[in-house]
Symmetry: C2
Subunit: 436 residues, 2 copies
């Protein structure tokens, strides 16, 4: 059978990796797909640089829009990143009847609903396995592997940079800033790391995971997002003492009232497998009604892990591109006319447990004040840690672990606690998930 | 669209679970598949018992062959287990043009090549996600999710009964027999547990995983299979002291010389995630060239985890049954005309590391004799543990961890060590995998 022709847009890390993996594993991929997958056209604004990546023998088109709509190709792989230009190119490719493969989570989080609707109307597929958790086939697992289940919640370490920084802070007992500097030196963090450390990248991915887990449209703007920049070495140490590890999690959970979607640092019991996912690795834990808990672990970024997911999508699209569009796996797992309008809960209505750390003057009655404030809001205490003041100091650290309660009750309790004269500065609040 | 009609053969644990999950999640499954999936016929030799499982409103057919070939159904789900009768029914269903979904690993390990060839010839699909690792979508991950990769090795905890027993032996410091009795009391082990504890069930699953990982036919008879019945509490304790945990692993590895396929107890570094998979849970670790290492974790057995995989297969088949058979995912991941005849290595040619435990008389020169025997076969020592004799006893335990070597060199070394007058009884040999 003739090879299927692909246009590759972008020859950076992901694009170069995809070109390399397709070339290296050509024989095995063809044995699987039943048909060769050939990058016959490369779209790159800097043809000289692109030529060094893809070598001779491939046409390079500096006009990306022409590459995205070239009549000779059937599939367009978008690996240029960014939002506006990528959106334009992907929509143009769809309008030209091309299937699209993309690794672009920011694009899908912001424009996914528009893009999927356009693809649906044009009868083409937009595949995006590489957009979440790199090489881990989590989109496939959720959308197809667990299709018999009602998915209850997802909790994922879906930003490798943040996970590396948290692992460093714990292993080497260093500050956030020192761990970030090391991540930057190793190439794991950008010069401007805010997308990663502020949780935005994780929120992009969580909006995709939530949609395919619950059959809802993508709703990035409704995700509560809190990064790791304010975590201290003390919090990581106290968490360890209490039997927990701190991870930046993306959590989506279905409750009777609606759907929670949130990205924040989270204490997880150390005995959980996912608490032991270290360095730049990713993992996604899924709780579903029939299968129970499953976990998917692997590299969340990097040239070849990303390429692994891109090529898997290429093989899927190659297989399916002649199929009746109605029989393809729907973009968001559920048929487009069967998406639900389940409300997304505001953070104040989220129910979880809490780690609260506060600095108090070491005086009689302080504890009684704090525990009364918590009791008044029906917040019950699961564990308590009091650190003696250091020699010559009057301030002591207190850590409280609460049972489950509503976020708004904790908001109110924190405000009251911070108003106490014996409490110094702000209360540190980190959410706790048992993931059991 | 009209519902797709399914015949369910068997209403035991897996069959009952499948019926229940399909009924409970009907709405979500239809939203995903775009079409209702309806069990319209149940094949069961004991209709009274089946009626109690499936309730009223479903036709029950006591003649399983008639159920498997009923003109009104398009898909047959085989959940009766066993080999000969299941083979007959599956082949009859295929001959009648039905797609088949099965959870039967013994059937596929022994008759898979015949069954897949028949399905290929008839243009139908045989789906078998539930046959390996229960609800974990590992078949889908390997066959589709990693299709861009050259898979290098797989190592899986794919028998929950054995893993439960090993967890018990470690947690409670009990013997194999005591742990087995507890597994039986909890319903995790059969009255005759040999399929599980002798590694046969794991070998069935490994033959399937190896085929789809490497693009080779199923070759169950070539798998080296060793169970957990001879493991002692002392081995588990010594392994812990050395930083390892003992798991029953199914391992398939590609080397320059051929493919290794083996099931045996294995020491794994405790820091590896898979070493921390406890109880009846399953996990499969995959090393592939592009993505690196990925891990898939979940329930490997039970009514609803099995049902989760069966229903996922039903949704896949429902989507694909109108597709051109050439564009379906091939049964063994690779196109049937592209399977490789890579040789399977005999165990003597396998290269790995070893834990050797021996009981010696506490005399001068014993260690020198043993280390000389190892050195003569170019087996180098990675770690060494000598246990002082207990008070009043002359025998001491010695544990040696070797670096990688060929199994045949270790066979020879063990024979020589056992021939020493100062060595009592047999040498215990457990293989060691770094899984790094």
């Amino acid at each position: 059978m003739e090879s299927i022709k692909v246009a590759l847009l972008g020859t950076g890390t992901a694009g170069g990796g995809t070109f390399r993996v397709l070339a290296r594993n050509q024989e095995e991929i063809t044995r699987r797909a039943g048909r060769a997958i050939e990058i016959s056209l490369v779209g790159a604004r800097d043809p000289g640089r692109a030529r060094r990546v893809v070598g001779e023998g491939v046409r390079i088109e500096p006009d990306l829009l022409r590459a995205a709509t070239d009549p000779a190709v059937e599939i367009v792989v978008e690996l240029i990143g960014g939002q506006e230009r990528a959106r334009e190119l992907v929509l143009a490719a769809i309008a030209a009847g091309k299937h699209v493969v993309t690794a672009n989570k920011a694009l899908l989080a912001h424009h996914g609903n528009e893009i999927f609707a356009a693809a649906q109307a044009a009868g083409v597929t937009v595949a995006f396995e590489a957009a979440v958790a790199g090489g881990i086939p989590i989109i496939k697992a959720l959308r197809e592997g667990l299709s018999g289940n009602r998915i209850e919640w997802i909790a994922g370490i879906i930003n490798g940079t943040s996970n590396f920084i948290l692992s460093e802070m714990r292993d080497r007992a260093v500050t956030f800033e020192a761990a970030l500097a090391r991540a930057q030196a190793l190439g794991y963090a950008e010069a401007d790391p805010s997308f990663d450390v502020e949780g935005i990248d994780a929120a992009h991915k969580l909006s995709i995971l939530s949609a395919i887990a619950f059959g809802i449209p993508m709703q990035f703007s409704k995700i509560y997002t809190e990064g790791i920049t304010r975590l201290t070495a003390a919090d990581i140490r106290y968490a360890e003492e209490l039997g927990y590890r701190i991870k930046l999690l993306g959590i989506a959970r279905r409750s009777a009232a609606g759907i929670e979607m949130r990205v924040h640092p989270t204490l997880i019991p150390t005995r959980r497998l996912i608490a032991n996912v270290e360095g730049v690795m990713n993992a996604v834990l899924v709780q579903a009604d029939a299968v129970g808990v499953t976990l998917y672990y692997g590299a969340g970024a990097g040239a070849e892990p990303t390429a692994s997911a891109v090529v898997a999508d290429l093989v899927d699209v190659t297989r399916l591109h002649t199929a009746d569009p109605e029989n393809r796996v729907p973009h968001l797992a559920f048929q487009p006319n069967a998406l639900a309008s389940t409300p997304i809960l505001p953070m104040s209505e989220v129910r979880t447990s809490y780690y609260l750390r506060l600095q108090v003057l070491d005086q009689p009655g302080v504890l009684a004040d704090i525990t009364r404030i918590l009791a008044d809001r029906s917040i019950s205490i699961e564990a308590f840690l009091q650190k003696e003041p250091r020699a010559g100091q009057a301030e002591a650290d207190i850590v409280v672990l609460t049972h489950q309660t509503l976020e708004k009750h904790v908001d109110a309790a924190i405000a009251s606690i911070e108003a106490l004269a014996t409490v110094l500065g702000r209360v540190t609040r980190i959410r706790v998930e048992a993931l059991g």
